[in-house]
Amino acid sequence: MSQAKKKTFKIEPFKHKVEMDPKYAEKTWKILEDAIHEIYNHNASGLSFEELYRNAYNMVLHKYGEKLYSGLVNTMTQHMREIARNVEAAQGGLFLEELDSKWCEHNKSLQMIRDILMYMDRTYVNNFNKTPVHELGLNLWRDNIVRSPKIRDRLLDTLLDLVHRERTGEVINRGLMRNITKMLVDLGQTVYQEDFERPFLDASSEFYRLESQQFIETSDCADYLRKAEKRLNEEIDRVTHYLDPKSEAKITSVVEREVIGNRMKLLVEMDNSGLVSMLIDDKYDDLGRMYNLFRRVSTGLQTIREVMTGHLRDTGRQLVLDPERLKDPVEFVQRLLDEKDKYDKIIQLSFSNDKTFQNALNSSFEFFINLNARSPEFISLFVDDKLRKGLKGVSEEDVESVLDKVMMLFRYLQEKDVFEKYYKQHLAKRLLSGRTVSDDAERSLIVKLKTECGYQFTSKLEGMFTDMKTSRDTMQGFNATLAGSESNEGPTLAVQVLTTGSWPTQSGARCIMPREIFEMCNKFKQYYLSTHTGRRLTWQTNMGTADLKATFGNGNKHELNVSTYQMCILCLFNIADHLTYREIEQATDIPAPDLKRSLQSLACVKGKNVLRKEPMSKDISEDDVFLFNDKFSSKFYKVKISTVVAQKESEPEKQETRQKVEEDRKPQIEAAIVRIMKARRLLDHNNIISEVTKQLQARFLPNPAVIKKRIESLIEREFLERDRGDRKLYRYLA
């Protein structure tokens, strides 16, 4: 594109050519130039602003803008060079002061020059895309002074030296530093960054690399962290006092990288003072410091978390698999709770309740609790212990907090159904023996289990409570009818009617009861069946207790609290003084293991031996003879003769429970498979496994091999079939 001049003929009127003084521009510029010199020489008092402004205005108006502008550039450059010489000549420490004072003067002069040349700034500079006067002044200062070869390096060295001196403890003139860095920022962010910030960061990086090396050789972990924290705060302080605010993030990241990031591994793994020993000794302050410092580095928290998790899993594994600990389940669980409390406190106090740390803690516990297959049993035993005696006289809130903690452990369990099994057994014992401390606590735990695992999980447990209540009502009714029917002075009977299925009953427990008891039982049976038609009652003699009044040799009267089996045995001695094992077995028909256990507790426990045994020995053999111990004495009127029971399960019992659990799982797995297949119709093997696992993991972790067996069983029963084309696919048969 070009500009075409139109060539048209014009008749111009005659005009006088107004001649301007040819030296006009020279003269005017001379006036302005002199004024600029005077301004730089602090001699502006003789100048008239109006005159100078008018002269500059006229020059621009008469198209001498170019001359004015280039003259300005030359004159200013001249002055900059002179100032540079002055600054260069300044001795040692006065260098910065000289630079600072010259900078102040330059700013003032520049302001005045801009005032004079304001009209040029507005019109000429705008139209011809020149640099405005103020910016021009800054650029000239930058190029002739700050970046002149003799000043540039000296300035940088002086600044870095001052910073270094301050880092090593000297006091420096912070105000001067601030003025100089402000000057660099005023000259433009790039000047500040290139001429100061970048070398400053490099020098800092080197400084901290060396210092942290020295620190780490001479200090322990906690000490090092304290020093690092101090250094970091010092640098932030430095930025607020005399650096550009934008430098804060950069310098802190240098310190973080050199002092923390690069030393992280060494610090955490330091012998005797590293993270592990801090955790062991509960050093909340040091841990908190480590957390706050490491948080600044990208992988810092991850490092802490990994070490903590590793340590936690190791100690947890030792705790859980220590054979010594397995002897006392209550102690075992208490240790677990203590460990959890310890780490909860650390996370709360030192790690500001960081969610990722809480998750790490939970996954660690989940990991090691399930290493021991007996954890569910132990946790149930712990609860049993607490609910039977541990919580006596403890306030309601404390009970709640203990139960909450137990629930936390319960959450970590994979085999929740095993826990349920044990819990049911223990609960049954507590209820039937009336040994539970607080009904409220029992119910509260049931509610917690219900919210955790759903209605299905606790329905049977709740059924047990209902049975206890209805039994009380039934007994009241029964006793009322007995009183009405002029009954004889028979023994008092207390019956608890238990719903089959809700309770861990063992069928086939049989025994021949003494005649008077047997009659009483029959009366109850009649009463019960008359009010509840269509039901069947069987006696669970293995779970009952009895109070017997007994008279011993020298007229000593005692009330004996015994089990039903023991009662049957003792009643035999009403008519005979000595009986052989075989005779007893025949007369009572009690299953051999129970009989032996009952006899053992009657004859072999010191202080409670109401029977004598011949020969005297700890164990019961089938040839033993039992005699009524006439010389029995006790300082208590009431004597409780407890059956010798292993509190923990013995090895065969354990196997039995396990088997029962496995048996119970089968229908659950099958139900899950059928539910899934009904919805999906066609699914491959791996997907079934993963879906079933997902559905059941709230209760237990099913074994893939077991799932496979269940699938096969379902195929046999024609719930499913294999796809004819792809053997891996299963099809649901409606």
């Binding site: 003789g46 008239s48 109006e50 003032k108």
Partner: protein, 448 residues
């Protein structure tokens, strides 16, 4: 000397005022700099009076402006000379604000009618951000500054100008048709010197392309234009305003609407570019919104599947109103239509302002043009401009609030433009354009 009092002698006439009044002029003005403490010392020593070698009668008007914020120009005083004096004292901005308020379509007054010197019909008028404007006539562009003084005319070697626009008050961009000899394309010029600043070029595979620049629009930093050429240069180009470098090009195959677009509009709030390809450039109308961050169309509308017969409505101009989320269109019968900008699937809702039956075919006429300021829509029809207030898609109509028409008239209106708080109206029959402004706080006793 009194602490706040200042004695001035302007061209021999004494004035007494206060520092506060002079400081009102702002730090960037000569008057405020004069009493700055850097210079203050001086005047105190030399004399108590500060002498200013200017005409006192203009100064008294300007001093009153600083005192009251209102501009009263006595009859017989040349407005131009007053502006020159204001320029000397550095208070032009204050004079401008006193003269002209923010654009309000309902309070507009016609402050000037400028007759162009060149012959030929004006094709386009564009407002500059500071209140000036430029008019394209064939291959010429006449530029007027904010005081309506004509600048150096830009002559473009007999290539036709398609569109013009201001990048800033000092710089105007011109789009021209291509010619075989590498002329044509797009370039920016300095308005005071008339010199070329940048040539905006289209490059494909490192080869410079010859192209016709259609419509243009500019954001704060970028310049957009629709381009047509021989092979690969169809589409919308993006250039950097400061360097003139091409930074982006949205290609489309020839015949697709983008390259043929006859109206571009930059929407600053949503960062979108409205591209409209309309009759007679193409048979069907296409309006779309482009997002250059994702290089894609975020919204589009076309009538290609709707129009059946010849007397159906044809969209002649389109403009987006960001505040109302509406794209406004106008057809050959001057009916306004509205399209929802938030939803791509909506059709046009036409308001039935005029009846198509009353338009006679033989009469030479100008089609309606649209312009937008905030929530006000300006639409030209014959020799008048109609102002509508906040139309939106739902209501399908705008409320007409004013009609702008000059009594002496200049014939039908061929183009309108809004910018710098002014409305410019270009007439078709005589080479004249009108300037409409909202009066400022001052009362101007006499205009010119």
């Amino acid at each position: 000397m009194g602490s706040d009092r200042v004695r001035l002698n302007v061209g021999g006439k004494p004035f007494v005022t206060s520092r506060t009044t002079l400081a009102n002029a702002g730090r960037g003005s000569m008057l405020a700099a004069m009493i700055d403490e850097n210079w203050d010392l001086v005047s105190e020593l030399v004399s108590e009076e500060i002498f200013i070698d200017r005409n006192p009668s203009y100064f008294s008007v300007l001093l009153d402006l600083l005192r009251t914020g209102e501009l009263h120009i006595p009859s017989g005083m040349s407005e131009k000379a007053l502006y020159r004096e204001a320029e000397f004292y550095g208070i032009t901005d204050r004079v401008r604000h006193a003269r002209k308020g923010p654009l309000d379509g309902n309070r507009l007054e016609c402050v000037a009618s400028i007759s162009g010197r060149a012959t030929g019909d004006g094709t386009a008028i564009r407002a500059s951000p500071d209140g000036g404007c430029c008019v394209a006539h064939g291959s010429m562009v006449h530029v007027y500054n904010w005081a309506m003084e004509e600048q150096i005319p830009l002559t473009l070697d007999y290539v036709n100008v398609n569109d013009v626009g201001f990048l800033n008050p000092n710089c105007v961009v011109i789009c021209t048709c291509e010619r075989g000899d590498r002329a044509g394309g797009m370039a920016s010029f300095n308005v005071t010197s008339g010199k070329l600043v940048h040539k905006f070029q289209v490059c494909h595979d490192d080869q410079l392309k010859n192209f016709t620049a259609g419509a243009l629009a500019s954001s704060d930093v970028h310049l957009y234009a629709s381009c047509r050429g021989r092979s690969y240069e169809y589409g919308i180009g993006t250039w950097d305003q400061a360097t003139g470098q091409q930074i982006n090009f949205l290609y489309e195959t020839p015949g697709r609407p983008l390259g043929d677009a006859c109206k571009l509009q930059w929407l600053p709030q949503s960062n979108l570019l409205l591209v409209a390809t309309l009759f007679p450039r193409s048979d069907h109308s296409f309006v779309s919104l482009l997002d250059f961050r994702t290089k894609g169309k975020v919204w589009s509308w076309t009538d290609s599947c709707q129009r059946k017969s010849a007397d159906e409505k044809i969209v002649m101009d389109a403009v987006a109103m960001e505040e109302c989320s509406t794209v406004c269109v106008v057809n050959q019968f001057d009916n306004l239509g509205f399209i929802d900008m938030r939803n791509s699937s909506h059709p046009v809702r036409w308001s039935h302002r005029y009846r198509s039956a009353r338009v006679s075919e033989c009469e030479e006429r100008c089609y309606s043009k649209l312009a937008v300021s905030g929530s006000q829509l300006f639409s030209s029809k014959n020799d008048s401009v109609y102002v509508f207030c906040s139309p939106d898609w739902d209501a399908a109509r705008g409320v007409q609030t004013a009609r702008l028409r000059k009594t002496e008239g200049g014939g039908a209106i061929s183009d309108i433009s809004v910018g710098g708080d002014s409305l410019f109206v270009l007439h078709n029959e005589i080479n004249v354009f009108d300037v409409w402004e909202t009066p400022g706080s001052s009362g101007i006793a006499e205009v010119l």
